[in-house]
Amino acid sequence: MTILLFLIPVALALGALGLAAFLWSLRSGQFDDLDGAANRILVDEDRPKRPADGNK
């Protein structure tokens, strides 16, 4: 039964990882604009950056 000592922590850690990832994505605003995110994949990203101030 010693296998349990590995398997249970591993299972819990993986679950916790998923939970943490979800909470992080929620906090970083990835769920704020679901319709926008769906449409942004169609937006052509190859636009020239602005020459000046560079902080974007």
């Binding site: 039964m1 349990l4 249970i8 299972a11 819990l12 679950g15 916790a16 998923g18 939970l19 979800f22 909470l23 929620l26 769920f31 704020d32 604009d33 679901l34 319709d35 926008g36 449409n39 942004r40 169609l42 937006v43 052509d44 636009r47 602005r50 000046a52 101030d53 902080n55 974007k56």
Partner: protein
């Protein structure tokens, strides 16, 4: 999506927000300045990059991020010299109207926070439930001795923090209810969850065989899901409504004593200020005209479709639309004294009587919550007697009863259906403000329509376009295009529809109350009323007309009528065939109302009704026990909208009308009224089915629990299956109302009105 742009009337959209943006700019701790603008007209995905690219071209702006879901853009910058006005200026250039987003005003910020809290709680309880369930499965499949204890301890380690974190929404609500001496569904929920967790902990300490950690956490997970769905639905409707409201946020131009002018928010107006109103603007306050002559469209206030001429000394009210000439107004009332404030007072009192409506879920909760506690207490007492005072086993059984009876499926039964229903309605152009509106809609027996702007589109249409020569049309359009008068616009529209290019005329003058005059090829031409053109009055049909004069000769007569919504007759016939009493309650003149009523086949109508009469009529019907659906758009409908059992308003309604109504429909069709009622009835029957399923499950499970046979396995399986059955049953609504492609042979003939929903419904 059928309609994705909930935009108000064009005239409102044209009045730009001219106020100062500076108060809306917030400064982050690191010194970055931030402005949150709402763009109600944002509806095509391409606009995302158009707006972001254009704004990032502004020098000094650090970033611009569009939120497509909420139709907002957040811009940040570090440069102190950067002016926020540049952002809204740029957006205007692109053709987008923007308003500062005021979270405190719409309550959206609180919504956002609440929704995140719930989502986090769902995630935590879901994680806990999945892991504990895995451990529990091992216990059920025969783990014994120290292995079982270990599994129970690990479960406790996951469950206790999870319950403490994810259970908060229920605990708070339960405490609030109890402290005000009431019972709600959250009291038994909180008790069951806490007791299950604590009892399991106690058992784990004593190396017991059973623990209910899985039950308590799974319970939370399902209930939180229901609560989140419920919240999502209301938040979506609220954000859509706030977008509509922000479109008509009004401002006013004020002239100071020294002759300078400045723009003020409508709320900042004071009595005796001199307000300047340009042609095409809506009045922001009540007052007396002190200079200028114009025509005023008061259809939003009274339902009257024909504009009225006002000159010096005339009393005008907020919400009226100034059509033809600039006027100056001495503001007489602001704040509490306006006509608007009177309407709001009437609405508030009308709404009080309405708040007595109790939703079916709450009605059941009132019976259910005490029943659960009595059952648990009876079980405890019964087992104490039976076992001769064995507290341990008696308490265990009583708690098992609490867990089993916990209204898990009941908590999901209504929100799940209502969320699906609101999604279906949203796709059909109807926004429901809360679930109660759906319940009320399903029970209506009387539908009262306002005429102007509700049954009709609220704008006149040229009815005899085919009888007029192209030359007359072209000349009339040439005159009319200089004017914002609704009749002139109708002429231009009709000309455009026939593909006629307006003729160029010179020196167009608009004479309020009379018409337009100009010079065409050296000859004076006029387009205006019969009286002004010197033509004999006609038979008094009461319909507005224009006469076109070339020199002293009348060449054409243009007849207008406020156009009925294309499918109004079909929708009303359908409502009547379903046994609903349909009536018209309008403030417009009798001729116009009679004409509309006979065109629509409505026998019962009332014309010339004032604000108070409309309210009184609806109250009277209510007193007779009728369940009234009020459909209206004007200011004069607002109290009646609030008084009806439930109400709907078109998206083009006044903001007060939209606030007063329970639901809002978009587009030029009247079909959403029909769709909303169908969906509401289906929702109600599915909710009832769900209740029957949920209660039926309890009827089976409770005796098992009371007799002490409820193992954690039985609790978990029974609870999950009942929840899944309820959710599955709710999803049937979406299948039922899914848009089906119309088969080729059933497609409407060319030119026939496009009524796919009505047709499908008849089939």
């Amino acid at each position: 999506m059928m309609t994705c742009c909930p935009v108000g009337p064009a005239i409102d959209a044209a009045t730009l927000f001219a106020g100062d943006l500076e108060p809306w700019v917030t400064t982050r701790p690191d010194g970055t300045r931030e402005l949150d603008l709402i763009i109600p007209g944002l509806c095509s995905p391409e606009s995302i990059s158009v707006i972001e690219e254009a704004l990032e071209q502004l020098s000094g702006l650090a970033s611009a991020r569009v939120n497509f879901t909420c139709k907002r853009v957040v811009a940040t910058w570090n440069d102190v010299s950067f002016s926020a006005a540049a952002i809204s200026g740029k957006l205007n250039e692109l053709g987008f109207i923007s308003r500062p987003f005021d979270p405190s005003h719409s309550g959206l910020k609180a919504d956002d926070a609440q929704s995140r809290l719930l989502l986090r709680a769902v995630a935590v309880s879901g994680f806990a439930a999945a892991n504990i369930m895995l451990l529990s499965v091992s216990v059920w499949s025969g783990a014994e001795g120290s292995t079982r204890d270990l599994f129970h301890w690990i479960s406790a380690g996951i469950a206790l923090p999870a319950v403490a974190y994810a259970g908060r929404p229920f605990f708070r609500s339960a405490v609030r209810a109890l402290s005000s001496g009431q019972f709600n569904m959250d009291v038994p929920i909180s008790l069951a969850v806490c007791l299950a967790a604590l009892m399991s902990l106690f058992e784990t300490f004593n190396h017991g065989e059973v623990a209910y950690f899985d039950a308590s956490v799974t319970l939370l997970f399902f209930l939180l899901t229901g609560r989140y769905l419920d919240h999502l639905m209301r938040a979506r409707a609220r954000s859509a409504v706030s977008q509509l409201l922000s479109l008509s946020a009004s401002s006013a131009m004020v002239e100071e004593a020294d002759g300078t002018t400045r723009v003020l928010a409508a709320t900042a107006l004071q009595p005796h200020m001199k307000m300047l109103v340009a042609a095409g603007e809506r009045l922001a306050a009540d007052g007396v005209v002190i200079a200028g002559t114009s025509e005023i469209d008061r259809s939003l206030l009274t339902g009257e479709t024909i504009p009225e001429v006002v000159a010096k000394g005339a009393i005008v009210h907020a919400g009226m639309l100034n059509l033809t000439g600039p006027i100056a107004i001495d503001v007489t009332a602001a704040g509490q004294d306006t006509f608007l404030a009177e309407i709001i007072r009437l609405m508030a009192s009308a709404e009080q009587s309405r708040s007595r409506f109790v939703q079916i879920a709450d009605r059941l909760a009132r019976i259910y919550a005490p029943a659960v506690h009595i059952l648990a207490a009876t079980t405890l007492a019964g087992w104490l007697l039976w076992t001769g005072g064995d507290w341990h086993i008696s308490l265990m059984t009583a708690i098992a009863v609490l867990i089993i009876t916990c209204p898990c499926a009941l908590g999901l039964a209504v929100p799940a259906v209502q969320t699906v229903a609101s999604g279906v309605l949203f796709r059909n152009g109807v926004m429901i403000k809360d679930g109660a509106a759906l319940e009320k809609l399903s029970g209506i027996d009387t539908v009262i329509f306002d005429k102007t702007g509700t049954l009709t589109l609220g704008r006149p249409r040229l009815t005899n376009s085919a009888a007029l020569s192209s030359m007359d049309m072209a000349l009339a359009a040439g005159l009319a295009r200089a004017s914002r008068h609704p009749l002139s616009r109708a002429v231009c529209e009709a000309a455009k529809f026939r593909g006629i290019v307006p003729l160029a005329v010179e020196g167009v003058q608009e004479i309020p109350g009379c018409g337009l005059s100009a010079i065409f090829q050296g000859e004076p031409v006029r387009l205006g009323s019969r009286r002004w053109c010197g033509i004999a009055e006609n038979d008094g049909q009461g319909l507005p007309e224009f006469v076109l004069m070339r020199g002293s000769k009348a060449t054409g007569i243009f007849a207008f009528e406020d156009e009925l919504r294309g499918d109004a007759a079909a929708v009303i016939a359908k409502l009547q065939s379903e046994g609903l009493q349909v009536e018209i309650l309008s403030g417009d003149r009798e001729v116009a109302v009679r004409r509309a009523a006979s065109a629509l086949g409505i026998d019962k109508w009332q014309a010339g009704a004032t604000l108070h009469q409309k309210l009184a009529y609806v109250e009277q019907l209510k007193a007779m026990g009728r369940k009234v659906l009020m459909v209206g758009d004007g200011l004069n409908d607002a109290p009646a909208l609030a008084a009806g059992l439930t109400s709907m308003a078109p998206a083009s309604a006044t903001d007060i009308g939209r606030t007063a109504a329970d639901s809002i429909f978009m587009g030029e069709s009247l079909q959403p009224v029909l769709v909303a009622r169908d969906v509401a009835i289906a929702t109600q029957s599915l909710s009832l089915q769900n209740f029957v399923l949920a209660v039926g499950y309890n009827l089976v499970a409770v005796p098992i629990a009371m007799l002490g046979f409820a193992s954690p396995l039985i609790a978990a399986v029974a609870m999950s299956t009942s929840s899944i059955i309820v959710i599955g049953n709710s999803l049937r609504l979406g299948l039922f109302f899914r848009k089906q492609p119309v088969p080729a042979e059933a497609r409407p003939q060319q030119g026939a009105p496009d009524l796919p929903y009505l047709e499908r419904r008849a089939a």
